[in-house]
Amino acid sequence: MSWLHIMILIPFLFAIIVPFIYRVFAPRIHTGWFVLSVPSVIFLYLLMYIPIISTGETILISVPWIPSYGINYTTYIDGLSLVFGLVITGIGALVVLYSIYYMSKLKESLHNFYVYLLLFMGAMLGLVFSDNILVLYVFWELTSISSFLLIAYWYQRERSRYGAQKSMNITIFGGLAMLAGFIMLSMMTETYSIREMINQTDSIYEHSLFLPAMILLLLGAFTKSAQFPFSIWLPDAMEAPTPISAYLHSATMVKAGIYLVARMTPIFGGTPEWFWLVTSAGLITLLYGSLTAVKQTDLKALLAYSTISQLGLIMSLLGMGSASLYYGTGDEASMYAAAVLAAIFHLINHSTFKGSLFMVVGIIDHETGTRDIRRLGGLMHLMPISFTLAIIGGFSMAGLPPFNGFLSKEMFFTAVLNASDMSIFSMESLGVIIPVIAWAASVFTFIYCMILIFKTFTGKYKPKKLEKAAHEAPVGMLVPPVILSSLVIIIFFFPNVLSQYILKPAMGAVLPAYSQPGEIEIKISAWHGWNTELFMTLGVVGAGTFLYLYLKKWIGIYSIYPYSMTFNNFYNQGLGKIEDMSLTLTKSYMTGFIRDYFVYVFTFLIIIIGGSMLFLDGAAFDAGNNAPVSIYEGVLIISMITAALTVLFSKSRLTAIVAVGALGYLVSLFFVIFRAPDLALTQLVVETVTTALFLLCFYHLPEIRREAVRVKFRMTNLVISLGVGAIVAILALSANGTRLFEPIAYYYENSYELAGARNIVNAILVDFRGIDTMLEIFVLGIASLGVYTLVKLRISGRDRSERTK
C-alpha cells in the first residue's frame, strides 16, 4: 500500500463515514463542508507529481489483489492519468463547493448525495490510475452505477428514474462489451497489464481477434462518452442535480470513454480500422450534437447536446492523432501528434468552460425556477456576474479569443486540414469531407453558444413567466464558476506552461514515441499569421452570426425529421417490447399451480440424472453385490407392492391411510432382515405415531374424491412418475453395482473404546456425529412448534370474512 493507493481509497473510506457526519451535524452544518476536504487533499497531493511526470517519468506501484489469477491492483501514473486525476479532483472540489449552496441542507437528503458523489470520485480515480484491465473494468462499472444513483437522486420524479435507467442500460451494455474486449486482449497477450500489452503491439495486430477486440472496446468507450448513436442517454441524464451534471456528465465520467481510447491508442492506433472508427464516430457525433443542440429549449438539454458534440470533437482528434503511430517518428508523425495534444488540451478546456457554463445554468435554474429559454430573457441587469461568466464560457466554447476554446479550436482546424492531406488509409478520396464536417459543426456550435448567452440574458425580462423573482446568486455559488472562468482566460494567455508540464507528458502516454520531453516541439500560440485556420474561424463567426440572426426563418426544418425515426424512439419501443416479451414468457410457465411446478421439478430430475447417466456412462449393473432373495423377503416385497398399489388405487381415505401404515410396518420388517435392529425399532415407533396422526386428521379431512380429470392430465402424471421410478431404480442398481471407495465404517469399529458403546449406530449418532443429531432435534423442535401453533391458532373472524369475499 502506497500513499497513492490510499489517496484513491480515501473517497470510499470517507463515503462510509458521511452518513454519521450527516447524522451528527445536520442540519446545522452543511455536510458538503466536510466532503470538500477529500477532493482538495487529493488534488494537492496529485499536484506534487507534476514535476516528476513532466520530466517524462512514470510511476508504477503494485499491490496484489487476487494473485492467483494474476490480478494486481496496480496504480500507474503517467501524463494521461495525471491529467484526468487533476480534472477529477479539481473540478470535484469546485463542484462540492458549489453543491453546498445549490443543495438545501434542510430539504435534501445530503448523506445519500455525498455518498454517491464520493463513490463516483473514488471509482473515477481508480479507473484512470489503474494499469490492470480487470481492475479498470471494475471501476468503470462502479462509475456507471454511481452515475445511475446520482441521476435518480430525485427518485420521486418519473423522468429521473427513466433517465437513470436509460443511462444504466446503455453504459452497462457498453461496459460488458468492453469486458469482452478486455478478455480478448488478455487472451492475445496473456497479461492483464496495459503496460505489457503495449510492448506486444506487433503480435496483437497479427492476431485474428484484433478487430473484434477493438470493436468491443470501442463500444464501451462510445457508450460511455455518449458518441452517436449511443448519445441518447446523456440528455436524459440531465435530470440529475446540476452539480452532478457539471461533474459527471460533462467534466469527468463521459470523458472516461475518451480516456479509454487514449489509453488504448498505443495498442490499436496506427491501423486504418482504428483511425476510421474513432475519427468518423467523433465527427458524426460532433455534427449531430451541434445540430441538435440548436433546437433545444431547455438550457441543460442544450448543454447536454453541446457536451456530446464536444466529446465528438475530442474523439475525432484522438482518431486523427492515432495516425502518428503509423509513421512512428519524423515530421509527419509529429504533425499528427499535435492532434493528440489538441485533444488533451481541448479536454481540459472543455472541463473548464463547460463546468462553468453548467454552474451558471444551475444558478439560473436556482434563482429563477426555470431553465426554459422561451421563458427566460433580460437577466443581464439582474445577474451581471452570471452574465459575464456565461459570456466567458460561451465564447470559449464557440472558439473565440481571448479564451482557451479559441486555441484548441484552431488546433482542431489544423488537425483536420492535415488529415485531409493525408495519403494513407484511403484518405485521398475521402479526406476532403473532414474539414467540411468540422467547419459546419463549428458553425452550429457558434449558433447554440449565442442562443445560450443572448436568449437568456438579453431581450425582455418576463417576470410573470418565472417562478421566483430573479436575482444574483449567493457568493459561494459564484466562486466555483469564477475560478473556472479565470482559468479559461489564464490558459489562453499562458498555454505553453500548461503544455510543458501537463499536456506533453499526457501526449507521451498516448504516443510512446514522444514519451521523453524535448523530442517534439509544439508551440501553442494565439496568433500564427493569416492562415487557413484563421479564415475558417472567421467564416464560422460570419456564417454563425448570420444564421443566428435569421434563426426563426429556418428553425422549422428540424420538425421535418419525424420522431419515429429517432434512436430515442427505437430505444423506447425496444425496451417496451423486451419487457412485454419477458412478462409473457414468465407468465407462460409461472402458472401459480403447484402441480405444474412439481412437474417441472420431476421432469428436470429425470433429464438431469438420466442425461448424466446416459452421457457419462454412469449406469452400471453388477450382479456381484446382489444378495440372494429368500422366501421371507419375497413375501415381504410382494406385500409391500400390494400395499403401495392399494394406496394408489384406493377410493376411500381410510384404506389409503391403513395401507400406508402397513407399508411402514413392512419396511421396518425389512430393516430386521437387513440387519438393522435400531432402524426397525425406530421405524415401528414412528410409523405408529404417524398413522395415529393420519387418523386424527382423517377425521377432519374430506373424502378422497374420484378425480374428474382429463386423460391427458393422468397420462402426464403417469409418464412422469414412471420416468422418475425408472431413473431411481437405475440409480439404485448402479449405486449397488459400483464400489469406488472402501466403506468407511471400520473407522467406527473402535466405538467401544472411544465412546463406550457397543452399538455402533448409536455411537455414530450420539457421539461421532453428535452435533448433527443435536441439529436434528432442533428440526424436530421447530416442527413440533409449527404443529402446535397451527393447531392452536385461531384465524380471526376478520381474516375469514376477507377470504370468503
Binding site: A656, R675, A676, P743, E749, A783, G786, V791
Partner: protein
C-alpha cells in the same frame, strides 16, 4: 430391491402430482420409504451381521447408512406431521383440499 425402490418412487410421484392434499402427503410418505431403502441398498445388503459389537458374527454390515437412515426417519416424521397439520389447517381455512382451487389471485 432396487426395482422396489423405483416402484415406490413412481407411486409416490404419481400421488404428489394429483390434486388432493391427502394424496400428496401419502405420496411424500411413500417416497421417503423409498429413500430409506435406497440408502440401505447403497450400503450393500446382507453383507454381515448387525452392527453390534457384543455379537459374535463379524463382520457387520455398514453402520453408516443405518445411522443416516435413522436420522432420515426422524426428520421424515417431523415433516409429515407438519404437512398433515398444515393441510388440516388449510382445509379448515380455505374449505378445499384441491391444490388448484388453493391458487392465489390471478393478478399477482
Amino acid at each position: 430391491m432396487s426395482l422396489l425402490v423405483g416402484l415406490f418412487f413412481a407411486i409416490g410421484t404419481y400421488l404428489i402430482l394429483t390434486k388432493s392434499l391427502l394424496r400428496i402427503i401419502l405420496g411424500t410418505s411413500i417416497i421417503s420409504h423409498g429413500v430409506h431403502l435406497l440408502i440401505l441398498t447403497m450400503g450393500g445388503l446382507k453383507t454381515g451381521g448387525p452392527p453390534l459389537l457384543g455379537l459374535q458374527d463379524l463382520p457387520f454390515t455398514d453402520a453408516l447408512p443405518q445411522a443416516l437412515i435413522l436420522t432420515a426417519i426422524v426428520i421424515n416424521f417431523a415433516t409429515t406431521a407438519l404437512f398433515l397439520v398444515l393441510s388440516y389447517r388449510a382445509y379448515k381455512v380455505l374449505g378445499t383440499d384441491d391444490t388448484d382451487q388453493m391458487r392465489g389471485n390471478h393478478d399477482e
